[in-house]
């Protein structure tokens, strides 16, 4: 069973009016794997997830989850899946326990089983002592944990996570990542996760699909993706140039051997180059244009570099524009945890 596919996506397409958000994509997700959809916001990741979780209807194409068609057998699909949305799915005026009870009761779980499961889940995320407090009084970290366990009420075989660490502090992000890994390992749940955070994708996912403009531009393990650019021909050079100027950056961009040039700050550059003569050409170009090199490094490629290499632009370009909506209401208000 290890290699059996639990999700099969064929030519999935979603258009909104004239805009194509998801453009004819196909992929399989194997049972028990953690599968990442990586890409900038607006790339179509969330739309893919919404279609797979039956919340949106595909314009064209199909997908099956556990053999059930996401359109024709949506009710069956819903019993198999859980979704952790970027928005927190919970009612602030209900207590932690009431929230879980409410959502659980929509799944036709027998009452005694549900009672036990709610207690177990609250224990799992260490919220037992606050089970009778309204979730509106919870901290962001507590709310995010609630948001995750809510999706586990029906013991889903497939768990969809949409930007699960968005807007979280580094420590909460670590906690959530640990939790996802634990779920995957101990319950054998297949996890599909969307993120624009390279770290999430790199640390968590068995395989990563890089999405840009509604299309899958690459799909492989993190290590294999990195090999794409650290092969014999391609290298990343990090340069510190104290008297870096925009003219110089433009000259470097114009170089034939440079695939991409990104400026990290006022004095440092990252250049993705190819070819045997690459180092020489770069150094020559800098010296001819009066630049001084204070340090030069040959970098190990990161997923970010992979993305840059494939798409020609950075993930961050568009990612930074997103405002974390989830914390708008109760996010930073003073806590009254009872």
């Amino acid at each position: 069973m290890a290699n059996a596919s639990i999700i099969e996506v064929k030519n999935l397409t979603k258009t909104f009016n004239k805009f194509t958000a998801v453009d004819d994509i196909s992929f399989d997700v194997k049972k028990g794997e953690i599968f990442g959809l990586l890409g900038p916001n607006g790339a179509g990741k969330s739309t893919i997830l919404r279609m797979l979780s039956t919340l949106a209807r595909p314009t064209k194409g199909t997908a099956t989850i556990g053999g059930y068609d996401i359109v024709k057998a949506d009710t069956e699909v819903r019993t198999l899946i859980g979704i952790v949305s970027e928005k927190m799915i919970m009612y602030n005026r209900l207590t932690a326990k009431e929230n879980l009870w409410f959502f659980g009761s929509l799944f036709n779980i027998p009452k005694d089983v549900l009672t036990k499961r709610v207690d177990e889940l609250l224990e799992l995320v260490q919220l037992t002592q606050w089970k009778n407090a309204q979730v509106g009084t919870f901290s962001t970290g507590m709310r995010q944990r609630m948001n995750v366990v809510r999706a586990l009420l029906n013991m889903p075989q497939v768990l969809f996570l949409d930007e699960p660490t968005l807007g979280l502090d580094p420590q909460s992000s670590v906690e959530i990542r640990e939790f996802i890994r634990k779920l995957n390992r101990e319950n054998g749940a297949t996890v599909v996760i969307t993120t624009h955070m390279m770290v999430d994708a790199d640390l968590l996912c068995d395989r990563i699909a890089i999405i840009d403009h509604g299309k899958i531009v690459a799909l492989d393990t993190s290590a294999n993706l990195k090999k794409m650019i650290s092969g014999a021909d391609t290298t990343i050079i990090k340069l510190d140039i104290p008297n870096l100027s925009s003219v110089l950056v433009e000259k470097l961009r114009a170089l034939k051997c440079a695939d991409a040039v990104t400026q990290e700050n006022s004095t440092s550059l990252k250049i993705l180059v190819h070819g045997d003569e690459a180092f020489d050409s770069v150094i020559d170009a800098i010296r001819v244009n009066g630049g001084k090199i204070s340090s030069m490094e040959n970098l190990q490629p990161s997923l970010e570099d992979v993305f840059l290499h494939i798409t020609g632009h950075q993930v961050r370009d568009s990612a930074d524009q997103k405002i974390p909506m989830a914390h708008r209401h109760f996010g930073e208000a003073p806590r009254r945890v009872r």
Binding site: R57, I83, E86
Partner: protein, 396 residues
């Protein structure tokens, strides 16, 4: 979805309604407003709306231009008579003004609300056996008050004229001089005992409106809010029939509307002395029927509103014409014919009409059968339209 029974659908609906009501009862400010809003509406509309019985102390200027006739001054006795009547009724505060121009000036400044002018030939005309003319000066910027003043003064003048006529016919040796002067004695009698106030008129209308608005506008707001916050997704990924979401929300909103309706009823009876002539059970049945007739419309609106802001705006847009065109505050008969035609297509018109007939006139089901039929038909037609529209919206 297809193989799930009505029992599961209902059970899911009740869970959703329970959840909505729990949220409602935990929102203390919201609860207070739930009671305060109808109270405000009753108090404001009930006390502000003018009626002849309650008008008093109107500032009226009096110009006496009468030049008399042979040392006889008919205007003096007229003014004395007017003051004598006014001392009993206190409807007017009379002040002497020198000319019509002064009245105009004082009305413009807001010191007067109208005026009475006795022309210079008043005595002369009366002595010559002709009618004595009296002129009422009205403030056109305030038609309501000017109509009231005109009504009040005409009543007063009419009474004084009758008294004078009675004196004149006295020599005829009639046994009843009043019968000679005024052959008809007009009396008004309601079909139920007691004198109904304006509250009796508006309380049923406000009740009908509040309950129906709760589904027509509360439903879109409640659902669009869940969509915006994201909690709707939590229900949508559960293997439940989409109809149980809308049914549950409707139940929740109906309960909220009924609570408000009952509060209005208690306020109307307890604070404003409104008497319920008909069956209280019929009153509640009518409120529920009103909800039913509006559910479909509410669902259609819900399907077309994407966010809470739009829902709120739509609510205001729909609420105002409904409020004023359905005879809740003002009688439909007062409106021009084209407005009356519009009001005839609004279900609220029929609900408030039926409720008023039951509460004020003690009507039973046979008397309000037309209203009932209209409400049922409207409800059925709207639901038939709404369900497919809603299903399509939910599976975009």
């Amino acid at each position: 979805m297809r193989h799930m029974g009505a029992k599961t659908l209902l059970s899911h609906s009740f869970r959703i309604a329970w959840k909505d009501l729990t949220e409602l009862f935990r929102n203390r400010l919201g609860l207070v407003l739930l009671i305060v809003m109808p109270l405000f509406m009753m108090v404001m509309v009930g006390f502000i709306y003018p009626s002849n019985g309650t008008v008093n102390n109107l500032q009226v200027g009096l110009v006496n231009d009468d030049s008399g006739f042979n040392n006889l001054n008919a205007s003096q006795s007229f003014i004395m008579g007017l003051q004598a009547i006014n001392n009993q009724t206190h409807m007017l505060i009379l002040s002497n003004v020198s000319s019509v121009a002064d009245i105009r000036d004082m009305v413009q400044r807001g010191d007067l609300e109208g005026g009475i002018v006795i022309p210079s030939n008043f005595s002369a005309s009366m002595m010559a056996g002709q009618q004595g003319t009296l002129i009422i000066v009205s403030d056109e910027s305030n038609p309501q008050i000017s109509a009231t003043i005109q009504g009040v003064l005409k009543t007063v003048f009419d009474g004084m004229g009758t008294a004078i006529a009675q004196q004149k016919v006295a020599p005829l040796n009639a046994t009843n001089t009043l019968a000679v002067v005024k052959p008809f004695n007009v009396q008004t009698q309601g079909i139920v005992s007691g004198t109904p106030s304006y509250f009796d008129f508006i309380a049923p209308g406000i009740m009908a409106m509040t309950v129906m608005m709760s589904v027509m506008t509360g439903l879109p707001v409640a659902i669009s809010q869940e969509k915006e916050v994201g909690t709707m997704d939590g229900m949508m990924v559960a293997p439940i029939n989409r109809l149980s979401i809308i049914l549950g929300k409707t139940l929740g909103q109906t309960a909220r509307g009924l609570i408000q309706g009952i509060i209005i009823l208690i306020l109307a009876v307890g604070l404003f002395g409104v008497a319920i002539q008909g069956s209280i059970l019929l009153v509640f049945a009518l409120l529920l029927l009103g909800v039913f007739s509006f559910v479909g419309l509410g669902i259609v609106i819900t399907s077309f509103t994407k966010d809470q802001e739009t829902a709120q705006m739509l609510m205001m847009t729909l609420m105002f014409p409904m409020m004023f065109l359905s005879g809740v505050f003002f009688p439909i008969q007062q409106m021009p014919w084209y407005m009356q035609d519009i009001s005839k297509i609004l279900p609220l018109t029929y609900a408030s009409d039926a409720l008023r007939k039951v509460m004020v006139l003690g009507a039973g089901i046979p008397q309000i059968s037309t209203d009932l039929i209209v409400l049922v038909v409207f409800g059925v037609v709207m639901i038939a339209i709404a369900v497919p529209v809603f299903r399509r919206m939910m599976t975009r």
